[in-house]
Amino acid sequence: MIKPERSRNYQNRIQDALLKPNLQETLGKFADAYVLAREAAFAGQDFEALRDSIAEIKDEVRNNLPKYLEEFTTNAEAAGAKVFLAKTAEDANRYILDLARARGVKKIVKSKSMASEETHLNRALIEAGVDVLETDLGEWIVQLAGERPSHMVLPAIHMVKEEVAELFSKATGRTESAEIPHLVRVAREQLRQAYLDADLGITGANAAIAETGGLALVTNEGNARLTSTLPKIHVALVGIEKLVPTLEDAHNIINVLPKNATGQLITSYISWIRGAVPCGDAAKELHIVLLDNGRSALAESAVCRDALRCIKCGACANVCPVYQIVGGHVFGHVYISAIGIILTAFFHGLDNAAELVKACIGCRACVAVCPSKIDLESIILHLREVLGEEEGIGTGKSLVFKKIMRNRKLFHGMLRAASLLQKPVTRGERSIRHLPLFFSGLTEWRTLPAIADKPLRDLWNTLPQKLEKPRYRVAFFAGCLNDFVYPELGQDLVKVLNHMNVDVSFPLEQNCCGVPALYSGDRETATALAKQNIDAMLQSAPDFVITTCPTCTMSLQRDFLDLLKENPEWTSKAQQLSAITMDISRFIVDELDGSSAFAGVADLSSVTYHDSCHLKRGAGVWQQPRELLERSGHTLAEMAHSDRCCGFGGSYSFTGHPEIARRILADKIRDIETSQADCVAMDCPGCLMQIKGGLEKQEKPIRAAHTIELLAEALRKTKFED
């Protein structure tokens, strides 16, 4: 599809999803219940160790695929199964179709198989005149509705019972009441005869075990057991990434899968099936179709290959703020959410993944819960770069990045000019409440801060620092928001660090950290900016480089290294910078042991804390700011979902997906309000802009502030007044 049309289509689908009643409520309720259940299921277990072991098993197979394929095939065939390796989706479908024709198959029952969704097997069979019935309750519901699953584990999670009752009534020709136990009963009765009548049963598998040549299948309903028992022919369609070396490996995966999928300790049934087991008077005919369909290509991609570790637990959807707003029909193709973006790119083509790639806000919630230790967000970012190179990132953006941002003086000059130009809309205030004409959508649901009269860089020399023997000399990397929108935050930082006898400098050659360019797919500009910033920040050989913005922190710590990895000279400089870069809270607590230096300076007001995505899941910092706030005298009133994204995501909330960002923010504001705190603290100017904007627009009497702002303010009010 050509790009503008594709984008327009996608935006329309987002709008439709936003209008769908119940969807956000249903998904939100599930997300809340899921987090608690998952926590209970893993209680007392070392999740990090478990996911290390899954990653290790999967990598072992990926690195030695031919060996395990052969071992599996030999053992499976020795037990009487037929194994077919399908290169493409068409090959797999053709094999199954030919088999069905050769055996005169009229009716097929299926238990849940994502691989068959991937190959569009049902369509192929139905076109050939074979009856295909999905037997998993959720799958049957979506089949009746003529839809595709919106979640890998819970296919019909987007529907309410009334919709299900309507579908079932059509299927039975009676009026079925919308009582869930009744609907489940109807499914039992309706599908029972189908198992008995079917000539062939199709299942997937959760593991294919090389050691035994057997399959492991995990279900709750018992439909896979019936599907693999009653019909005379059993076809298992299995992605080659499901191979594992031993029974222990299969056990490790099956142990984690239900816990991470729904918070269930173990599913009702785990079936270990090997070979041509007895069936009536004869032996069953078992065909195992191993599906490649892009998996080998994925294994070749050094950046993306970890995606092959996926065990299809669906957790990356459960915690994703974008999924929670629009659901899997919009945030997915066949496979959904974070992993869906990646698999779609490889299995169904980059074109089908293009819009999804842009819909990710980059909050890394998925990375934190993935049991296979896949850095989903980094892979998505990479795909965005590939897409940027293939399709371009749009002329306007490209011009800004290439021509303006790379030239620091020009870029900063334009920001200064913007501060003057905005005068008519700000009316001298610090917040923009309304924007004219077609920009108005952006201030409908949050105010936006004005660009400051004077950026921090122009104010720096007016900040007196009189330390005789400073403990450390640190350089401050401000980032655009801190420099041009919240310059007072820089003043606060100086105040706080001076209080602990640390001298702060501001290297004037620093430029944008490059994240906006990188996240839009312009790697070239991001690389140019990385070089400028490395030189600027290392020039005075500071002890540390301190940030107040966690996105900048990640950029300096992680992205620069990646951007410059091909160049040894720059790599070593990037490593140097990465090693000394730290966000302010961690610096104060971990390096200066500073929480005691602020003991009791603040009043007793109650504060709730919002975890910025990049601070908690990027830099691993969440304890430190809380410690600072509490030690300084605030009472901490934790909000629900404190580490859920606020919906900012840089340009995401402006030009990318403002409507999704708006809903995510609304949830955040509700959680803040419910905490009953007077103030919400955070450690990110981006979140500050988003949350402050939302609170102001809704006229909530709750203050939003950076942790450093609160500390500096407390110092000013106490005996440390200078």
Binding site: F30, D136, G138, A156, T229
Partner: protein, 181 residues
């Protein structure tokens, strides 16, 4: 054994300790409501469960499985071993009759010797491996509670396609051999 019972109860399974075969038959009589599928399980044959059930006046089916399974009310099997941590029983279901008895009917009764309860799932893997080594074709089932779904509005509902009731009868002295059920 206490851990096993607690875990099984959590997943909506029923557990009853029975003193002897007569008590087991009486329990089954109380909780079933129609024909009983009784596949030839070595441990159950040895103790003469079939005769006991017949004596209690229960309709037992022990042949022509495929034809009779769809109308049976209950299935009765033994178990190879069980896992305390999760409340699971592990059943070699390679024989088709065992599979039919444990998948199609409304109720599934399992007679288990408490001596076969292992503490953790990992303890069972060597047995699973041995079963694979000794039988060329294998269909092995871990069964944890009755059949369930949460596919409509995430509401847990018991008894979709598999048995809606799972009764585990703990009968000491039945068999402590994990290679037989």
């Amino acid at each position: 054994m206490d851990d096993f019972i607690a875990a099984l109860t959590k997943v909506n399974g029923c557990c009853e300790q029975v003193a002897d075969i007569g008590a087991a038959a009486a329990y089954i009589a109380r909780h079933s409501d129609g024909p009983l599928l009784l596949p030839p399980q070595p441990s159950l044959l040895r103790i003469g469960l079939r005769e006991e059930l017949v004596r209690a006046g229960l309709p037992v089916i022990d042949n022509d499985w495929r034809a009779q399974a769809p109308t049976a009310d209950s299935g009765i099997t033994g178990a190879n071993f069980a896992i305390a941590a999760t409340g699971s029983i592990v059943l070699d279901s390679t024989q088709e009759a065992v599979r039919l008895a444990s998948t199609l009917p409304e109720r599934h009764f399992v007679l288990l010797d408490p001596a076969k309860i292992l503490p953790e799932a990992t303890d069972g893997i060597p047995i699973v491996r041995r079963i694979h080594q000794e039988t060329p074709q294998t269909y092995l089932a871990y069964i944890t509670g009755p059949s369930r779904t949460a596919d409509i509005e995430r509401v847990l509902t018991i008894g979709v396609h598999g048995p809606a009731e799972l009764h585990i009868l703990l009968l000491p002295g039945l068999s402590d051999d994990p290679m037989e059920s």
